[in-house]
């Protein structure tokens, strides 16, 4: 497979990730029985936001505006290591999953600093919740990817995902799907979706992720939201890659399959959001625990 397609897939991630949010919205609108916001709404929002300036209070420092930029940069960096379907990522090295996870963590850390910089009680509360849950989700993510690595004998994410379909045929899909299921739960946690968080809520006291960015306005919130869209894309690609045994010798079809998988995950997220309530905040760790158990089972099964 030519590296050109790696860059094409990278470019597609950058341009299409906002559409993912639109797809989730439309899915939810379908289940509610309404027309809902246009598919392109996230793009309209970004165009408007990037035309706006930021709003800064006198009490915040550079940390406040640097957070969203650093977060976006970290997301872009991670994206270079995430394969789309069977198409390898533009960059890869053995153990790059740690690079992905930790650069996302770094971005989050800087967002947390930015949130704490405002000194507002909500943002502190949101930051504490976000850190607590992602702390729990991180090992689950590692164990799941490790499982896939054990199954495929691959070292980098691109290697792992590139050979997954073959292994699905040979070793059965149950292990891979278990691990994929765990990654899917991590997706819900990391991307602030129902049942963990409600991205559309207006209630400050119940927010997790949203509470952290209440004070960012204009272009800054644009950065935050774009970073979030990229992150959603990455996780969707990882989940889709583990679930769909699609593989083709034609790189073009490969790209299409990869994108189809990503959007299928977005639709699934929309369906989940339409069919259940949020968990009580105190129950979220239990959900992550469940994901952890899935991942461990998959690992044991794979290492058997």
């Amino acid at each position: 497979m030519t590296p050109a397609f790696s860059f094409v897939s990278f470019g597609l991630a950058i341009t299409l990730s906002p559409l993912l949010l639109g797809v989730i919205q439309k899915t939810k609108a379908f289940f509610a029985g309404r027309e809902g916001a246009p598919l392109m709404q996230p793009y309209f929002d970004f165009v408007k936001l990037f035309r706006k300036g930021g709003v800064y209070s006198r009490t915040t420092s550079w940390v406040f505006w640097a957070g969203p930029i650093a977060n976006l940069a970290a997301a872009l960096l991670s994206l270079t290591f995430v394969p789309l379907g069977r198409i390898p990522a533009p960059a890869a090295f053995p153990g790059d999953v740690f690079m992905v996870a930790y650069s996302l963590s770094l971005g989050r850390f800087l967002m947390v600093l930015a949130a704490l910089d405002t000194g507002s009680a909500f943002e502190g509360m949101g930051a504490s919740r976000e850190v607590r849950f992602s702390l729990l989700a991180e090992p689950v993510f590692f164990v799941s990817v490790l499982t896939l690595a054990v199954v495929t004998q691959g070292a980098s994410l691109s290697e792992i995902y590139g050979t997954l379909p073959r292994h699905m045929v040979h070793q059965g899909i149950s292990t891979i799907w278990l691990a994929g299921g765990a990654v899917a739960l991590v997706l819900l946690v990391e991307n602030a979706r129902i049942p963990v968080d409600d991205p559309t809520t207006h209630l400050e006291l119940t927010m997790i992720h949203e509470a952290m960015v209440l004070d960012h306005g204009g272009i800054d919130i644009g950065f935050v939201q774009y970073g979030a869209a990229l992150k959603l894309w990455m996780f969707s690609a990882l989940v889709a890659g583990a679930f769909f045994p699609f593989s083709s010798a034609r790189p073009f079809l490969e790209v299409m399959g990869g994108i189809g998988g990503v959007f299928a995950v977005a639709v699934a997220v929309g369906i989940v959001e339409s069919s259940m309530a949020r968990l009580r905040l105190i129950r979220v760790p239990q959900l992550i625990l469940l994901a952890g158990v899935l991942a461990l089972m998959a690992l044991l099964w794979a290492a058997r």
């Binding site: 509610a32 029985g33 959001e273 309530a277 949020r278």
Partner: protein, 505 residues
């Protein structure tokens, strides 16, 4: 305009002003204490200014469900008196109001702080003094300790709701204490109506709490009708009841949808939100206004229904009922929703009784309080609507009570539309009797609405007191939040869904 000393009245019946100064304070306190112990409710406790001496009259309205009547007790107090709250917790909010409005100090009140930050009312009835309190500035309760932190929300909230200020004393995610500080919606309606003959009075009352327009307007009209000795025609009473039950339907359905929205359960939230609008549209068919403005007028109703409207309402009601019941069923059949409602924000029956919860919140805690059956008025005298209670006092109970009441209201409206009384006499002219007192209770969708009024020697309204159900229940919300997760507050809040403007007046 002296209040009667001690009399028992039926709901909406008048009493003549007394010439004497009332029972002694000791007697007053004993009567009240004994009454509450016997299961009566403190519907209102307020002060009436009196120029004849340096003090005022303290008046209590006790609702006595067993005998189905209201007891009005009056006594004279000076510029201070021993607080009733320590023995009668239900008086807590009332005494704070008395202190704030008139500067009469209930000595020994454990929690004497402003509730509305309104300018004090002068006892001679003139304009308020210039000394204005600053809203939200008071000594808030604080829990000491290193791990305890304070989260303050409002007055402007993130959602599309009214302003109010909430302070949580938290330990991590757990709430030790919630203090509610309101007054942002204070417009001075009670004073304006108590000053007598403004042409806007009915409109003031209708906008006292927009979602309870019918409830408050009915209480107000019944006050005037009582004072004038006028009885609306049975048909008007029936239309009023239809309007009241439509109001209950709309709000209960909307509340269930809002509770679903708060736990992020999209389908029920979306469906209920729309269905609520459809019910409001039925009210609009009646009078042109979705909230029922102009429908309830003194002496009768502003609009009547004809044959076509009747059948139109019936037809649409059937559609709405099918939609509403399926949406609500979905809510109660989704385990993830029940898990969120169950056991959250509990108020025990004994606590509810002590602090005097009314309406949906009271019934969810197992109190059979419902003015419609305890002190029936209007058409409720002829049609009995069952009281729906549940014992657990949590969010689930408040949701379940709403669900039962929705079913009852559908049935009640349908029965009424089946057999509307025929006579259509127009509203009579109102001439109020002089020197009378009257107390009127209605059951708004939130709970008991109490209006008390008095006329002067010329037969003009000279005193008016409004008690919205929210006034009784806000403290209940604070109690419900004890030891709960702070992230469950929005849900608890919606499950009570109290009125800010109804409280602030």
């Amino acid at each position: 305009m002296n209040p009667p000393i001690l009399c028992s009245l039926r709901n909406g019946e008048t009493a003549v002003c007394s010439q004497e100064s009332g029972v002694s304070f000791e007697q007053f306190r004993t009567l009240l204490g004994k009454g509450i112990e016997a299961g009566h409710r403190l519907s209102a406790l307020f002060v009436v200014p009196d120029d004849s001496f340096d003090g005022a009259r303290l008046v209590a309205v006790l609702a006595r469900p067993m005998s189905g009547d209201l007891q009005m007790i009056g006594c004279a107090v000076g510029s201070s008196y021993p607080a009733l709250t320590p023995g009668i917790p239900a008086a807590h909010w009332f005494e704070r109001e008395i202190f704030e409005q008139w500067g009469i100090r209930p000595e020994g009140h454990p929690w004497l702080k402003p509730i509305r930050f309104q300018p004090p009312r002068s006892r001679s009835g003139g304009r308020p003094s210039l000394l204005l309190p600053t809203v939200g500035v008071t000594e808030f309760f604080r829990v000491e300790g290193e791990d305890v932190h304070e989260v303050a929300v409002g007055p402007v909230h993130a959602g599309v709701i009214e302003p109010g200020h909430f302070r949580f004393q938290c330990h991590g995610e757990t709430v030790y204490h919630l203090e509610i500080s309101l007054g942002y919606q204070h417009r001075g309606i009670e004073r304006a109506v108590g000053e007598g003959n403004s042409p806007r009075m009915r409109h003031y009352i209708e906008t006292l709490a927009g979602d309870s327009t019918i409830g408050h307007a009915t209480a107000y009209c019944r006050v005037l009708e009582g004072l004038a000795g006028v009885r609306p025609s049975p048909r008007a009473e029936a239309v009023r009841m239809i309007a009241a039950e439509l109001e209950r339907l709309a709000n209960h359905i909307g509340d269930l949808g809002a509770m679903a929205g708060d736990v992020g359960f999209l389908p029920a939230a979306s469906y209920c939100g729309r269905i609520r609008g459809d019910v409001l549209n039925l009210t609009a068919e009646l009078c042109g206004n979705r909230f029922g403005r102009g429908l309830i007028v003194p002496g009768g109703t502003g609009f009547d229904l004809d044959q076509t409207l009747e059948s139109e309402l019936k037809r649409r009601l059937d559609d709405i009922e099918a939609d509403a019941l399926s949406a609500i069923e979905q809510l109660f059949e989704t385990p993830s929703v029940l898990a969120r409602f169950d056991g959250v924000g509990e108020v025990s029956e004994s606590l509810a009784r002590q602090i005097g919860l009314v309406g949906v919140a009271g019934r969810a805690s197992g109190l059979p309080c419902d003015v419609r059956s305890e002190f029936p008025y209007g058409f409720y005298q002829f049609v009995h609507v069952p009281v729906c209670t549940w014992g657990t006092g949590d969010c689930l109970a408040r949701a379940l009570v709403r669900r039962m009441e929705i079913q009852q209201s559908f049935a009640a409206i349908r029965a009424l539309l089946q057999s509307l009384p025929a006579d259509r006499s127009p509203p009579a002219v109102m001439t109020l009797a002089p020197r009378r007192w009257v107390a009127s209770l209605t059951e708004g969708w939130r709970g008991e609405i109490c209006h008390v009024a008095a006329t002067d020697d010329e037969g003009q309204l000279a005193f008016y007191k409004v008690v919205d159900p929210s006034f009784h229940n806000w403290f209940g919300l604070a109690c419900a939040m004890r030891d709960q997760l702070i992230s469950d507050f929005p849900l608890c809040n919606k499950s009570f869904n109290l009125s800010y403007c109804g409280h602030d007046l």
